[in-house]
Assembly symmetry: C2
Homo-oligomer: 416 residues x 2
């Protein structure tokens, strides 16, 4: 297997060199062809997906996970729309920024270029196969995919379709490859391919991400958990604050951008907390709170120290009353995980201070934390959300899969 994965990565490197200077039109054509094939070859994809579903059902996979695994017409239509959107986006490769003249007449700037070969290790739905491949292709990179066991046949069929689309556009099929095994050992082998992969992106549970961070011999872009707060300031519009908290918690509680904690200013707490409790209780959310919360909402369970650290990914929400913006900022600095932090306020100075001082990949004013998503933020799609600050902090789209090199245009300049 080691030899096979090394060979695969070497083929990807060769393909990446071709992709790096491929025309924007050829890359867009491959994406449009993939969208067309998703429709014309749907029966084949459904058949492969059905095999995965049957095996997973026999293996006792939960109903929720089976739902995520299933390629439905709705999933297809979303993937088609996404592919067409990425195809139409401006091509970032070759963009030149800031080409300015130095005193000696040398013209200096930066040119945007692909990263090279990306390793993508994921556990999630087969959709990710198409979305990640589309973004890396647009950015002029090759990708080596290692998907989850349950989706293996679906992923195989999708990768074949993507490769056929590349070939149709005159591009090398080896720019998108799937590791032909779902053994855990394949993850380690990918991590040890220093020099052949320029970047590795793990997407999945904490255990997977920590494994890749520990083992990888190349840069890793990973996201930590989202211990996300909403601070409801003294001047907040209570209706909007309740709506935002409810949306953040219940719209999809299992995601990393879901709301986990609400901090509320003491002045507004007696009005806000009962309204919040009513809305959350109706939505089936379990509330936990600090002592001062429980003075206002006596039936709420007492929060322990670990509650402040925990990403529940479930219908549980912890509440705290604070006296000042400063106290909220200090709490977030201590317990937040640099993922998504929001304030509800009508005080401009407080909004600006929160925006500037909170260290998170997305900081929101008067909006739901659920917007921390590449599509929602206007990137078309995302390959992940980075919570480390180097290279990319937050949602990663096409641009985050490129870098810039320096260029200099002279007419004989030498250094004195």
């Amino acid at each position: 297997m080691i030899g096979e994965i090394v060979q695969m990565a070497q083929n990807a490197r060769r393909a990446a060199r071709v992709l790096a200077s491929a025309s924007p039109a050829a890359k867009a054509l491959a994406l449009r062809r993939a969208a067309a094939r998703l429709q014309s070859e749907w029966a084949l994809l459904e058949a492969a997906n059905r095999q995965d579903l049957e095996a997973a059902e026999a293996g006792g996979l939960s109903r929720a996970k089976l739902d995520r695994l299933k390629l439905t017409p709705r999933v297809r239509d979303d993937l088609v729309a996404g592919l067409l959107q990425v195809a139409e986006m401006p091509d970032p490769v070759g963009e030149i920024e800031g080409l300015s003249l130095r005193p000696n007449g040398l013209q200096v700037g930066r040119m945007r270029v692909p990263l090279g070969v990306i390793g993508f290790i994921y556990e999630s739905r087969p959709n990710a196969t198409v979305e990640a491949s589309a973004l890396t292709l647009k950015a002029g990179n090759a990708i080596v995919l290692r998907g989850g066991k349950e989706a293996f046949r679906s992923n195989e069929a999708l990768v074949r379709l993507l490769q056929d689309s590349l070939l149709e556009a005159g591009l090398p099929g080896e720019a998108i490859q799937l590791v032909p095994t779902t053994d855990r050992s394949a993850i380690l082998e990918l991590c040890h391919l220093g020099g052949l992969l320029d970047l590795i992106i793990p997407r999945g549970g904490k255990e997977l991400i920590e494994l890749v961070q520990r083992e990888a011999r190349m840069p890793v872009l990973a996201h930590a958990e989202g211990v996300n707060h909403l601070f409801v300031d003294e001047s907040a519009a209570v209706d909007k604050a309740v709506d935002i908290a409810l949306n953040g918690k219940v719209q999809r509680p299992s995601t990393c951008n879901a709301l986990e904690k609400v901090l509320v200013h003491a002045t507004i707490a007696p009005e806000f907390l009962p309204r919040l409790e009513a809305a959350m209780t109706q939505a089936g959310v379990e509330l936990r709170g600090c002592e001062r919360t429980r003075q206002i909402l006596p039936t709420v369970k007492a929060a322990g120290e670990e509650d402040w650290h925990t990403e529940y990914l479930d219908l549980i929400l912890t509440l705290k009353v604070v006296d000042t913006l400063e106290e909220a900022l200090a709490h977030i600095a201590r317990y937040g995980s640099n993922h998504t932090e929001a304030i509800c306020t009508n005080d401009h100075a407080h909004a600006m201070r929160f925006l500037r001082e909170v260290d998170a990949s997305l900081v929101l004013v008067n909006a739901s934390p659920r917007f921390n998503d590449g599509f929602q933020l206007g990137l078309g799609a995302e390959i992940g959300i980075s919570t480390s600050k180097l290279h990319a902090y937050g949602v990663m789209g096409v641009r985050e899969l490129t870098t810039t090199k320096w260029i200099a245009l002279g007419d004989g300049q030498v250094r004195e």
Copy 2:
């Protein structure tokens, strides 16, 4: 010592939080005060430097290295000019880019923010202490410095001066700290401070860089060696090509942006190579060449395979005759180290193709590779040259010591 370095890094983290929201004026004041103190406290600095010089001379340090260690009035004046230049540059922190409206009215963009705490491990001249500190301070970061043994007293005196300047501007002195030992173990301790340092930058020999890359538990920005080429195309102006090659090789041969190899198109080789040989021989450069070079320059020594891989950092240059631009591009892709690559040509299509296809941190047309330097490229100064593509590729100045977070301004938006 471990406890001491951990404590130092924790203090740096606290200072970094203050620096992150410090005003541009306060940071600029600290830089201007440091420039003033370099002049007013010159006698103290000279005295500390003299101790280093005496110890180094007694220890048998080479004349060249003693010269690099010495704080001369010329070095002082350059540092003063550099500090004032960094002080006057626009402050990148808090800049907001691309604040655009999403269809739901949410206004989304990116805000530039500091990285946090930088670890800087260097072997070079005491100048680096001031230059690296100035850049990290401007970018709103704290820095923990670990300099070379020979410059320890000079570095101590310079860091004290920088800390006094911070305090004068109302900023925490612990934003700039020097590890109080030059034991090698201190390097390992810094590398293992995962969670306390956001980035580590090693600057020095290959051995140091490989050690840091192997041991670091945090992102590393490092530069590999510079196996740098000049391709002299068929249409090159021979005079300019000779000047550029000579400047690249001899202006300062010990630097990573010096020229190491010249590839020349077969058509122009009979005219170019004798002129190049005359200029290089006069400058004391030893030439090595491929078989076809030696048909034109019979006294040139034959180049072996390892010559194509070697960064000499010395007055040695290897020459190769090629038949096409493609052959030059393939040779550079195979043997280059992604550092600095140049073409001399008057053919526009060749210039553009070289610019686009060569994968190096700086690609030049008709100019000396010696321009791969932060000051020369207009950054004011540099903290290093990265040859890895993530985060920064090429010279790193103030902007490369920051990152961006996403911000979103709403009026109650929730996700459907």
